[in-house]
Symmetry: C2
Amino acid sequence: MKEVIDFIDSNYERYLDELKEFLRIPSISTLPEHSRDMQTAAEFVAAKLKDAGMNKVEIFQTEGHPLVYAEWLGAPGKPTVLIYGHYDVQPVDPIELWESPPFEPTIKGDNIYARGATDDKGQMFVHIKSVEAYFKTYGSLPLNVKFIIEGEEEIGSSNLTSFLKNNVELLKADAVLISDTSLYDVGVPTITYGLRGLAYMEVEVVGPNRDLHSGTYGGAVPNPINILAEMIAKLKDKDAKITITGFYKDVLKLTKEERQNFKALKFSEKEFARSIGIKKSVGEKGYSVLERIWARPTLDCNGIVGGFTGQGAKTVIPSKASAKISMRLVPNQDPKKIEKLFTKYIKQIAPDYVNVKVTSIHGGYPVLAPLDHKATKAAARAMSKAFGKKTIFMREGGSIPIVVDFANRLKACPVLMGLGLDSENLHSPNEHFNLNHFKLGIKSSAYFLDEFSRV
Amino acid sequence: MKEVIDFIDSNYERYLDELKEFLRIPSISTLPEHSRDMQTAAEFVAAKLKDAGMNKVEIFQTEGHPLVYAEWLGAPGKPTVLIYGHYDVQPVDPIELWESPPFEPTIKGDNIYARGATDDKGQMFVHIKSVEAYFKTYGSLPLNVKFIIEGEEEIGSSNLTSFLKNNVELLKADAVLISDTSLYDVGVPTITYGLRGLAYMEVEVVGPNRDLHSGTYGGAVPNPINILAEMIAKLKDKDAKITITGFYKDVLKLTKEERQNFKALKFSEKEFARSIGIKKSVGEKGYSVLERIWARPTLDCNGIVGGFTGQGAKTVIPSKASAKISMRLVPNQDPKKIEKLFTKYIKQIAPDYVNVKVTSIHGGYPVLAPLDHKATKAAARAMSKAFGKKTIFMREGGSIPIVVDFANRLKACPVLMGLGLDSENLHSPNEHFNLNHFKLGIKSSAYFLDEFSRV
């Protein structure tokens, strides 16, 4: 391995030049005027994969932007890893807030500034370079490697989703390696092993068949806002436990090890509260902030509207009111099942003198990569070697739908080897990527190929 | 009295012609292009008061439309009645829905159709004609009479309100006679003796200092929508009693007589529910629908808003949410006091980890004319004589701010001798007024002058 690591060190300046070249391509997936740039970016990725040594490289056209596929299957009997990333980037508005042009990569201090630097060109490029270092050093890889790089992550991954559905055999792997999340902190090697799922619902309450004058009718008719409020209040108890019957039934409990891992992290609840302007953090009784955010299911109203919402007064009893209510789910909750439980409970607590409509707007499965999976352990060892520190394990409160699809369709263990930082302005002006993490990422990736080949 | 009633019968055709002339004046107070019509209507009223025999008639110019004042104080030692009405009318849109031109009075069956027919020209004109009948028959009135007729009732009465404040002595009276409400039903003589008041509040809950991603933060931060909903749910108990401490303290209980009066009215709770498309009426335990609407205080959310309210899904925990919450008040509740109790209670039930702002938007006092007041009794006897039926007593759920001002500033008993019907399309196309009620109204008014002079 020493030779590979040395190769990375001595070729680093060239990697940086190539990354800059990649970042100069304005591959904004959502803007039609950039469709040619999308093709250019896909061709750049394909060329770099070919240069690296991947022996089968193919660009698949889709109804949207192209997918880049590559494989090297020269290690029969050894595990197969699928490496995922995306070459598309977010738009750059508001352009006037950029301190350097978004598609003219600029190095300041430890960081390289450009749209896509951390999300996801810089993070994804790491793996192409680790594969190259291996090939250039030993002429082969220690295990089988596939790449699938898409150009539509920022607009919903719909073409990759259907490609995945139709090409399970092509993409089949034991693990899916993804660098599109964050490190817990600067220089802290981190594996994200859990993502929450989602069940997003809408509840509409209809009372009278028209808006009524609150003087003439107030006191004798069901008010849909009051009733909706009462129903929302019944969704949690005083300990912030969700009261929907059966809601927690499938929740995988945090293990002792996980709770200890979270507890060991440098985290200040005070600083967390201060950063978002709240007096104190609140939530489900019996759990820490990190546990609540990463590993416990939640319920939040995301929106509510009914009646008169302008300036001043209008004495109306509205005909209807509605709320968006979503639940973040954790392994092994099933969004389809939760939708049903939610709907049933809402119907049960709704008074019989109003009409209540419950609609499912959107759902997604949670993901959990077992901490004791060989791929997870190999990744942790790899990052520890590269960073020279013990790898920490965290979860994330949000969802990454494509990760769920990989895990479910391919039965592959997701390995989220995030190399970004939450502070790197992804989706905002002055996006940047820490170049120390870029170099340590290439080494982490190389170590992972070695570690995972040995299991 | 027989002579007065005979006079009314034999002059009825002329009264009708005069009413038509009045209705032809397009005195729409809210439209600036009708300001000359407002002057014309005021002059018409003043002329008719002079013709009737009132010996001091004056038009007071205001910052808006003129006020018409008249007095005859030739009965020293006798009570004084102030008669109030308004000569302004609502706009006529949508004009295409009128079956006859709004300012060309048209008689069809028992009704006269025109804008202002029932609200309030027809109802108000009744009293000018009863005074005329008296003067023409006996050469004098049996008690002292004042008139104050405004041209801004449909736009908030602000100039009358300040005139009243500055002219208490001029307007001083023992009773204020007003015909600007409704009969309970066709041909049913009705006195409205109670109006509800209002305290209209706004509550804003602020949690985090910005909108947050519900994946990243959900579970550990206070959600202002959920908290607002929980607070609203705490404003009433399961019997729909309002839980604000001290809220019912000053509520004047319905007397046995009142409850019996209401019970005796022809009223179908089923039909009431059907008419507004609800399965059943609901409200405070232990009270009938009419009691709840007319004589019990209520609390209703008039509007609520927070977070994402568009189509589809946005996984946001909003920074804030707010609701408009109003309470209808009954005698002897004081809106200023209720505002304070509401604010105190809200602050008390608000969790200490959010910021809650309570604002008073608008308030108004309730009114109750004592059933045993001489003016109330005289009015009931008068209507019974004219209609040939027992007068019923009802209340109304809404507010009429100017009535409160009269009652409070002049310490005069309000007598709401409504002659309209809720079905007469006031404020809508094809407004009309039942001419039987017009004639019976003139007689009721004349009987009232007689009855009230004897007390």
